[in-house]
């Protein structure tokens, strides 16, 4: 735009008068209109372009999405294929070689693991650390002179060797091939059979004294084999020379260091590598991995562990360098294998008999401990024992007779516990850390035992006497365990407490009911034994229970002062007391004494009531006699039994004397009336 002198322009324009100005205004108005229109058009025009661009962009975006989707799909397919294909890690192979052996070891193991599944007898091949598969394929071996077919082979090219495998005639499972031989690539001579007079796609392998000829399926396959063989050989050779050079450099280093003393000593590393190569050259050490394999295969675990220990001792003296690391890796692998085998030895599997006993386990445990896996050994050992205990308990037959079953159960369980304890002391003599594990284990086993025990003893309505017997039995066994220093009684009592208490309560209540029932129908008639024979029999019976003074309560040829009620009560009360005392433990002291005193008090109260009520005026002597019997004959018996068990008198029974006095008083007043 030309810069306008506005005043000048206005002056010039205004010179023409009004008409001129109006014309100008009109012109300007038109101009503005046109401009606006053009602007509008332009906007529209750009607008459509804008829309178009936006559309393009969105479609482009869609395409990009599609593309990325396809790419991920393809990636996942590739991954799947890599996983499926046995040569899948082909691509990674060379990198690994370049990096050396260290880092890729685990992967390699994984990669070669499939070989184990496919090829019979190749475990030795797969164990070399750093080894991996480069190529594999089917080949037909032909006789190198007559060109007759020999056999079908499957060859696996590893990074350092060529493994030939034959097809298994009757394949079962995933194993398809059997290892035939393994050729080191170092000295393997490969010959391309250019023209063999009719035989196509063949090549030869010269490995003195073998000369073997193979035929590939297609020229391409053969070319591939030759190229890959060549390449792999070169790589291996390069790696070897690298190592040699490093070693040579190290030697030179050392020499120079020796020659001029003021020069800095050689770097630790180079010296180490020399030491290493020297130290590793011991014959036995070189053969150790193979010997280990043999020992494991022969189940000579002691020998294997001896070897491992010897090797480790030796290696500990060595500086830590590449070669030692590699060697160590080989040993580690064996140790892992050995550990697995030993663990299997301890593992409980349904197909293996566990009748081998603990001594069998001790062997494996000892070796595991020597390998420094004491906690694992402890764990497995105890698991093994658990299984044995469970098994033995399951073998017990439940034949309705609870006490017999419980006796056996206790025998089996506590014997096993004892055995385990003794075995444990022998197996883990200096591993005190494991003992806590053992204690925890016994606790859990005890819980299992108590559960089994309770389900048998408490679950169905078992006779109280039998329950008492069972509990007593178990408790004596618990005490026996203390000979190996285990205190199980407390655990047992604690686990049993609620059940036992409930039972004592129930038995007591039951007895009380019986007392009430009998007393309600009591007519206070002394028992007539009808003849002397039966009388004597009765006296003997009572004496057997422990009532030696029963003679004081009989008279005549066949009479006793005691009523039927009293006789029955005596029998059941004494047996109840005996049972309760059988399963007595101080925690239940209160419950037991309370039951003792309550029941006998109730019986005595019955006598008291009978006298006071004057319902039986003719029977007062009998009542008094019975009451005297309870207090002076029965109570002391229970007292003495109680004291024998608990070591202290049962003070709860002391109040009986007072009641007896009261009855006597009542009797005398009654007779006076």
């Amino acid at each position: 735009m030309i810069p306008l002198d506005i005043v000048a322009v206005v002056r010039k324009r205004s010179q023409g008068g009004e008409e001129e100005l109006q014309k100008l205004q009109h012109e300007v108005g038109q101009l503005a209109e046109n401009t606006a229109l053009a602007l509008k058009k332009n906007v529209y025009k750009n607008y459509s372009q804008f829309i178009e661009t936006a559309k393009e962009i969105s479609s482009l975006q869609g395409e990009m999405y599609q593309l990325s989707h396809m790419l991920t799909d393809q990636k996942s397919i590739m991954n799947a294929m890599i996983e499926m294909s046995i040569t899948g890690h082909n691509g990674e192979g060379p990198e690994e070689t370049d990096e050396g052996v260290g880092p890729g070891e685990d992967d390699t193991q994984k990669h070669l693991a499939f070989l184990l599944e496919k090829v019979e007898g190749c475990s030795g091949v797969t164990e070399v650390p750093g080894r991996h598969l480069v190529h594999d394929g089917d080949l037909l071996e032909i006789e190198s002179e007559s060109f007759t077919t020999v056999q079908k082979l499957h060859a696996f090219l590893l990074n350092d060797s060529l493994m030939l495998t034959t097809w298994l005639p009757h394949r079962r499972g995933p194993v398809k091939y059997r290892l035939q031989c393994l050729y080191e690539l170092d000295s393997l001579a490969v010959v391309n059979a250019r023209d063999m007079g009719g035989v196509k796609n063949a090549f030869k392998i010269l490995m003195f004294p073998d000369t073997r000829m193979f035929q590939a399926e297609t020229p391409k396959a053969k070319g591939q084999w030759l190229d890959i063989l060549e390449e792999t050989k070169k790589k291996k050779a390069a790696l070897d020379t690298q190592r040699k050079e490093a070693a040579a450099a190290a030697v030179a280093d050392r020499k120079s260091a020796v020659s001029n003393a003021d020069v800095e000593p050689p770097t630790e590393r180079s010296r180490n590598s020399i030491l290493e190569s020297e130290l590793l050259h011991a014959d036995w050490l070189q053969e150790a991995p193979e010997d280990l394999d043999v020992a494991i295969a022969q189940r000579d675990f002691e020998g294997a562990v001896d070897l491992v220990e010897r090797g480790n001792e030796h290696l500990d003296g060595c500086p830590k360098g590449q070669a030692v690391r590699e060697y160590r890796a080989r040993i580690e692998l064996r140790i892992k294998q050995l550990t697995e085998v030993l663990k299997q030895e301890l593992q409980v599997s349904p197909e293996r008999s566990i009748r081998g006993g603990p001594r069998c386990a001790r062997r494996a445990v000892t070796q595991l401990i020597r390998l420094g896996k004491s906690s694992q050994a402890c764990d497995l050992f105890l698991k093994n024992r658990t299984a044995i205990i469970r098994y033995n308990i399951r073998q017990l037959k439940i034949e309705g007779n609870t006490s017999l079953y419980v006796k056996r159960l206790c025998l089996v369980f506590f014997d096993n516990l004892l055995e385990t304890g003794k075995e444990f002391m022998k197996a883990f003599p200096q591993h005190f850390g494991c003992f806590s594990g053992f204690v925890v284990w016994t606790k859990s086993e005890m819980l299992y035992f108590v559960t089994t025990f309770a389900s048998q003893v408490f679950a169905n309505k078992t006779n109280f006497t039998i329950v008492a017997e069972c509990v007593a039995e178990a408790r004596t066994h618990c005490n026996k365990v203390s000979e190996i220093g285990l205190e199980m009684t407390f655990t047992f009592d604690r686990l049993m407490a609620s059940d036992v208490e409930r039972l004592i309560q129930e038995a007591g209540d039951f007895q009380m009911e019986a007392v009430k029932h009998r007393c309600s129908e009591d007519q206070w008639r002394p028992v007539n034994h009808l003849n002397h024979m039966l009388q004597v029999k009765f006296e003997d019976e009572m004496k057997d229970i422990g009532l030696t003074t029963i003679g004081d309560f009989t008279y005549g040829v066949c009479f006793t002062w005691l009523t039927q009620n009293s006789v029955q009560f005596t029998k059941s009360y004494v047996s109840l007391c005996v049972d309760m005392l059988k399963m007595y433990n101080p925690n239940q002291h209160h419950l037991v004494t309370a039951a003792f005193s309550e029941i006998i008090s109730a019986q005595l109260r019955h006598a008291d009531r009978s006298i006071s009520s004057h319902k039986f005026p003719d029977q007062e002597t009998v009542i008094l006699k019975n009451a005297e019997f309870l207090v002076q004959c029965l109570a002391p018996l229970v007292q003495s039994k109680y004291q024998a068990v608990t070591g202290q008198p049962c003070s709860a029974l002391d109040h009986l004397q007072a009641t007896l006095k009261k009855i006597r008083r009542a009797a005398s007043t009654a007779s006076q009336c």
Binding site: E145, S146, F147, T148, T149, D186, S187, L188, A189, V190, V191, N192, A193, R194, D195, M196, G197, G198, V199, K200, K204, L206, M207, F208, P209, T211, Q215, L226, E230, A237
Partner: protein
Amino acid sequence: MSKGKTQAPTVIHKVIMVGSGGVGKSALTLQFMYDEFVEDYEPTKADSYRKKVVLDGEEVQIDILDTAGQEDYAAIRDNYFRSGEGFLCVFSITEQDSFQATNDFREQILRVKSDENIPFLLVGNKMDLEEKRQVSIEDATARAQQWNVPYVETSAKTRANVDKVFFDLMRSIRVKKQATPSSGGGKKQSNTGGGKDKRKKKKCIIL
């Protein structure tokens, strides 16, 4: 496959070509096999050929192992050499180094085969390139005499003496085999065929 055709009870003579790289081992082999001269040079790795030939009226097979002159690894070379029954040790008359290298090859072969009388020919190749000669006939002959082996000059290009070196070698292999019928590294199969026959022939040669 052509089993029927190839399954012949004929004798197989195993010949190995040794010598430095580029002296013309493959050229000699290809000239012998196919009567053609290959101009362009490509280093050989290790190639094997087999051909039926008539040797003094008897049909035999020749198995030629054309080794790599550049093979660096002694252990692998040993494996090649072990499989051979006779050796053509080739050098180029235009290259002094290749002549010197024959010493090493001879040494290694003797070490591997441990037999001073192993069928062996010293071959001076590229005799068509007379103007570039670096190794004199006298030197080569002297060495051959020292080794007690024949010296022959050849040209893979003109085919001069090509058949001669192969057939001469096969003849001395045959002599060797007849002298020790059962030995020679497991050639039982091939020897059982005409053992007696050859024994007579051997006597003829001595006479």
